[in-house]
């Protein structure tokens, strides 16, 4: 069922047009907040009364990817979740149509915020989730105190027309989908222990004993196609909340100039280049990443007109 729409999207992309990201419309409060939390396997850490840090993982991983960063924020209320189709989320709730739009993931983030009635949220988005965060903040700016964008890219495919370098061609995206197919059974096998585990008592499993659960292969194609064929550049100027852009060296997915462009397009962009290399600084260099986020939060607090300490 994914194959049909996917080919259409690729065909459309070949004709030159990527899908422009659409900011979600205002959403009614979820009718069943508990169901929202359950299907996204929402967990919390840190201080329940601290300022809210909502961590939104990227493609290929689940909330497990944040494990090393979380201990650095014991004074925050750290809220973690799995995007539908990833981690321990309810795969049956993954909607190939809705989650074939980047805005669909932003809607999920807004639903989680509403379900927990989170206010003044600092939303941390990694990789593709950085653009999910951008869409969520554009849709409901009042909800967010600010954004932290880890290794963001608003468009992965080069755009010769505007001289934009995303780092990839459409053929590359084809290759990615083929790689996903090749890994289908390996990824399925990696999900198997989750399926057979005890869903009634996930909290019983010690954090580190739990497996590292990534994206489910049945959702991965749609997720990958959506994020790699969406162009979010036009939304960036509409995000009027403080936004920290964290950029790594030698990031295979987001070249340096992309991070520069993101920070420049954001009205309140704050660019910080990390010493860390690669695409996942929160995993490979959690100390440096946490320090950069803390420094930004301190700058943000200082810059606030009225003392909202």
């Amino acid at each position: 069922m994914t194959a049909v729409t996917e080919d259409q999207a690729l065909d459309a992309a070949k004709s030159g047009a990527l899908v422009p990201a659409v900011v979600p419309a205002p959403r009614p409060a979820p009718r069943d907040p508990a169901a929202v939390l359950a299907r996204h396997a929402v967990t919390e850490a840190g201080s329940p009364d601290g300022p809210v840090l909502l961590l939104s993982h990227g493609f290929g991983t689940g909330q497990d990817a944040w494990r090393r960063l979380v201990p650095h924020f014991p004074d925050h209320r750290v809220v973690l979740f799995d995007h539908l189709g990833s981690g321990r989320s309810d795969l049956s709730a993954f909607d190939h149509e809705r989650h074939g739009r980047l805005g669909g993931y932003a809607e999920d983030v807004l639903d989680i915020c509403a379900a927990l009635d989170l206010r003044d949220v600092t939303l941390v988005g990694h990789s593709v989730s950085a653009m999910v965060a951008v869409l969520a903040a554009a849709a409901d700016p009042g909800r967010f105190a600010g954004l932290v964008l880890l290794a963001p890219s608003p468009r992965y495919v080069d755009d010769p027309e505007t001289g934009y370098t995303g780092g990839f061609s459409l053929e590359d995206i084809h290759e990615l989908l083929e790689s996903l197919d090749s890994n289908y059974y390996a990824w399925s096998a990696a999900m198997a222990p989750v399926v057979m585990g005890n869903p009634d008592a996930p909290e019983l499993a010690a954090e580190l004993e739990r497996g590292f659960v990534g994206t489910h292969p049945d959702a991965a194609r749609t997720f990958a196609r959506t994020l790699f064929l969406t162009d979010t550049r036009a939304v960036l100027p509409r995000v009027d909340v403080p936004a920290l852009v964290l950029q790594c060296r030698h990031d295979a997915l987001a070249p340096l100039e992309v991070g520069d462009a993101v920070a420049a397009s954001l009205p309140q962009g704050d660019l910080v280049r990390l010493e860390a290399t690669g695409h996942c600084p929160h995993v490979s260099a959690p100390d440096e990443t946490a320090a950069a986020i803390r420094a930004h939060l301190a700058r943000r607090a200082a810059a606030r007109p009225t003392g909202a300490a």
Partner: protein, 608 residues
């Protein structure tokens, strides 16, 4: 950092049957490669050492390695059997399974050991397997689409593509159950509006005229246009349904009656704009009735939303009739507070008393047909109250009040008198029609009833055989002894006795056999469901067989469709009445069977 272990170990490592790489602690850069790797890939050691591993992967694998495998490796210390292709020295792609573990050397320094297994065969099998799986998914998706299409057909009206009655009921049940569940959880959401399901019942005023002047095709065009306008006038989440003919219902969530009234006004305004049908400009006005779900028990809503749905639609329907009666192109809101108000009932009773004396009661006649030859066999007299304010009221609006107060005797007397008078008028015109009259339990218990009926018949010169006295199964069973006496007396007189609403009152067969009954009237609720519901069909079938076995005439009530009629014929039912044959109409609008050629027109009239 060079390689693991001492010389012997290093030799084993170099000659391992498996290609090995050593990466730095972050698994980014290649620090060493064994002979098996260089032999397999064609790369020289000095060409790969110091370069990133990802440089050896084609772009797709590189992205997956970066986004998925690497974070897992860093967090958990290992990844197993990652499916990759390695770009060899000759640019050929080598299929491999990659396993990597983070380990520490004797100095405590971390590095990542990588093993690569050639996996050409396995990769090919998995690709075939996956292709088959995708084909299966595609076919499953086609099946699901077909099923969704079928579901759509069942729940939608073919002409307008609006929801039909089952579609509306399904949506209404969901809305009411959801409303109940929300209330049980504590009602008002933190953000957003507290809303309640509401229905707006809309009936077109000028539809029949359009049908008459432009034909059925013109009527259909009008309905399609009306459907489009209603859809355009409602919010995205609202449902527009077409119940039957020119009846439409809008279901939406509202904050209260005021918002619902606003919705009704919008809908009526949308319909008020003239429509051009086949070159003729038509102005269709409509009347609307509003009912908002109110103080129903939330638990009952969740457990059995169907009853509440029926009540809500009835209230809206009733409000619509009030609107229609008070002037065209208006709307009325059902007022739940007024409904059970004692004062209101007393006022209604007082009005009804006047109605009986002041000639506000009317009799409408619904034809009943012989299923065997298709001829009109008789009519059922049904009382209506031409209320000066509320319009023409059906018995459901006032019979209960009459029953409770005893006014039913005077009302019943008027009905009998008028029905007999009408039978006499028809008789004078040379039309032989049996006229059925409903008797209430109270009338049945009236010792003077028999004499009274005898006198009325004699005065008008109508033979008792023209009269059918209908008594509900429930009334029959409420006082079987009295019923037996009265019915036996009527029977002796020569009148026909029918059991009404048969199947709803749990009459025992033993009683039924002893009663002097001539007809069994099968309740409309079973007839309505008989073409969809096997259970209803079985009940109808057994009622007909029961009637046959006891030598009684079987009559089906509420026949609305050709399919129901055909099913009844197949089951051997004797008589039928219902909208399929004709609605209850005043005597002068009834197409009489005298001129046989006109018989078909009765059905046509009913369909319009």
């Amino acid at each position: 950092m060079t390689s693991p272990g001492g010389d012997a170990e290093r030799l084993l490592w170099q000659r391992s049957p498996c290609a090995h790489l050593v990466l730095d602690a972050t698994a980014a850069t290649i620090l060493d490669a064994n002979d098996t790797f260089t032999g397999w890939s064609g790369h020289r050691r000095e060409d790969v050492v110091g370069t990133p591993l990802s440089a050896l992967l084609p772009v797709g694998d590189r992205i997956l390695w970066t986004t998925s495998a690497l974070p897992k490796l860093e967090v958990t210390g290992r990844v197993e059997e990652v499916v990759v292709q390695l770009v060899g020295a000759d640019r050929q792609r080598l299929a491999a399974l990659l396993t990597a573990h983070r380990v520490e050397d004797e100095k405590g320094e971390a590095y990542v050991a990588v093993a690569l297994f050639s996996a050409t065969e396995r990769r090919r099998y998995e690709e075939d397997l996956l292709a088959a799986r995708r084909r299966a998914e595609a076919s499953e998706a086609r099946r699901a689409r077909a099923e969704a299409g079928l579901q759509h057909l069942v729940h939608h009206d073919a002409l307008t593509d609006l929801a039909n009655r089952p579609g509306l009921l399904a949506a209404l049940h969901t809305a009411l159950a959801g409303h109940g569940a929300r209330q049980l959880r504590g009602g008002v959401p933190a953000a957003g509006r507290a809303t309640t399901p509401a229905v707006v019942f809309i009936d077109l005023d000028g539809f029949k005229a359009v049908n008459d002047s432009t034909g059925h095709a013109g009527g259909d065009e009008l309905l399609v246009e009306v459907a489009a306008r209603l859809k355009a006038a409602v919010r995205a989440g609202a449902l527009v349904a077409r119940l039957a003919g020119d009846e439409f219902v809008v279901l939406d969530e509202v904050t209260g009656p005021e918002e619902a009234a606003g919705l009704a006004q919008r809908l009526l305004a949308a319909l008020a704009v003239p429509i051009v049908i086949r070159g003729v400009e038509v102005v269709v006005s409509a009347s609307a009735g509003i009912a908002v779900a109110g103080d129903e028990d939330p638990a009952a809503l969740v457990a059995a939303p169907a009853a509440a749905a029926d009540a809500l639609l009835q209230h809206a329907d009733a409000a619509m009739y009030r609107a229609k009666a008070s002037g065209r192109s208006g709307w009325e809101v059902h007022d739940p507070a007024a409904r059970d108000d004692t004062a209101d009932r007393l006022r209604l009773l007082e009005q009804l008393r006047h109605a009986v004396n002041d000639g506000q009661l009317r009799l409408h006649y619904q034809p009943r047909f012989d299923l065997a030859d298709g001829r009109m066999a008789g009519v059922e007299a049904l009382v209506r109250w031409a209320h000066p304010v509320r319009g023409l009221l059906a018995p459901g609006e006032f019979i209960n009040v009459a029953e409770e107060s005893g006014l039913i005797r005077e009302l019943g007397a008027w009905v009998l008198e008028e029905a007999v008078a009408q039978a006499a008028r028809w008789q004078d015109q040379g039309v032989d029609l049996q006229v059925s009259v409903n008797l209430s339990a109270r009338q049945l218990a009236d010792p003077g009833l028999r004499d009274w009926v005898t006198t009325a018949l004699a005065r008008r010169g109508v033979p008792a055989s023209r009269l059918v006295l209908e008594i509900t199964e429930t009334a029959l069973m409420s006082d079987p002894v009295t019923a037996m006496t009265t019915l036996t007396a009527f029977k002796a007189l020569g009148a026909t006795v029918a059991v009404d609403d048969f199947g709803t009152g749990y009459a025992s067969l033993a009683y039924l056999r002893r009663f002097p009954v001539d007809e069994l009237k099968i309740d409309r609720s079973f007839v309505a469901g008989m073409t969809e519901d096997a259970g209803d069909r079985a009940i109808v079938a057994s009622c007909i067989h029961l009637a046959g076995a006891m030598g009684l005439v079987s009559v089906a009530e509420g026949v609305e469709t050709e399919a129901q009629r055909d099913a009844l014929i197949a089951l051997g039912c004797d008589l039928a009445q219902g909208y399929h044959y004709g609605r209850p109409v005043p005597a002068d609008e009834l197409v009489l069977p005298r001129a046989r050629g006109l018989l078909g027109n009765v059905a046509q009239l009913a369909a319009s």
